[in-house]
């Protein structure tokens, strides 16, 4: 539900980096969006098409690299995806702890066209 302001910010970041590198045009923006970041890729794509119009990123492709969230088992160090209503490690049964994997939300790179 915060995708609209987030998309504005993505465009601002991409535009700024494009300007720094004297881009004639920004042709692609690559985002990394963890599935537990709280942001939906589909919504960002939808907003991007609308908001990009008339900005330096108009027409740029939006590539979104999705990251599955993983828990870390404190007992056997296994990294695993949780099942609903459970945090149990599939290897040893111990409850896993949260990690930062799956919470990513950043602009990874942009592709630009220069003269």
């Amino acid at each position: 539900m915060h995708e609209y302001p987030a998309t504005l910010q993505i465009i601002k970041i991409a535009t700024e980096h494009g300007r720094l590198h004297q881009a004639k045009r920004i042709t692609k923006i690559t985002l990394v969006v963890g599935e537990k970041s709280g942001f939906l890729s589909d919504s960002i794509e939808m907003y991007f098409k609308i908001i990009a119009e008339g900005t330096p990123v108009e027409g740029a492709a939006l590539e979104i690299l999705s990251v599955k969230p993983l828990l870390n088992c404190p007992n056997c160090s296994e990294l695993f995806a949780r099942k609903p209503y459970s945090f149990a490690c599939p290897k040893c049964g111990q409850d896993g702890n949260p990690t930062e994997i799956g919470k990513e939300f950043y602009v990874k790179n942009i592709e630009i066209e220069t003269a």
């Binding site: 709280g38 609903p84 409850d95 949260p98 602009v107 942009i110 592709e111 630009i112």
Partner: protein, 217 residues
Amino acid sequence: MCIQEIPVEEKIYAENDRIAHDNRHFLKDRGILGVNVMGAPGAGKTSSLLQIIKGLAEQNVYVIEGDIESDIDTQTLLAQGIEAVQINTGGACHLDAPALQLAFPRLSLQQPGFLFIENVGNLVCPAEFEIGEHLKMLICSAAEGSDKPYKYPLAFEKAQVILLNKRDLKPYVGFDDSFFYKGVRALNPDAPIFEVNAKTGEGFLEVVQWFKERLGK
């Protein structure tokens, strides 16, 4: 024509996080501990704050109340002689760092003590945004059910202290203690969990003591 890939590696909320960092320093420089109070609507955030503030009687306490609309909670606090201001988000579901920064000049914030920032009632979004707090307090209630850590994990994961309010209602709502604690501990092995009743004040001595020990750290 030349196509070039430019590495960016910039967090989309870097701007918010930068302001949150400034807020944290602003408070720390004044010896004020900023507490982001999170919890679902009706969990008992304001009622719990009243009990905690009562226990911190000899300390300076400031409160920022975040709500979509109304100043009901702020009026309740002001009536108790507590220095409080209201932020109305006008629909937004959480406070962010700029909103907190804009509220600072509305409080005196001259003496060391505590600033409680009661976030918008919501078990989801407040956990996702740094505002410049030093710690997050999650207030949940037995009436919400024991499955909340499994359904809304981030709030439980991010909290440095957790209050389980309305503990007297446990038998009436079939609250499953072991399921609740197992879920919270998987997400957050270290945060103390205090079972309280904000209506009667039961269980708050320990909470107040915990906060007193945090001051100056």
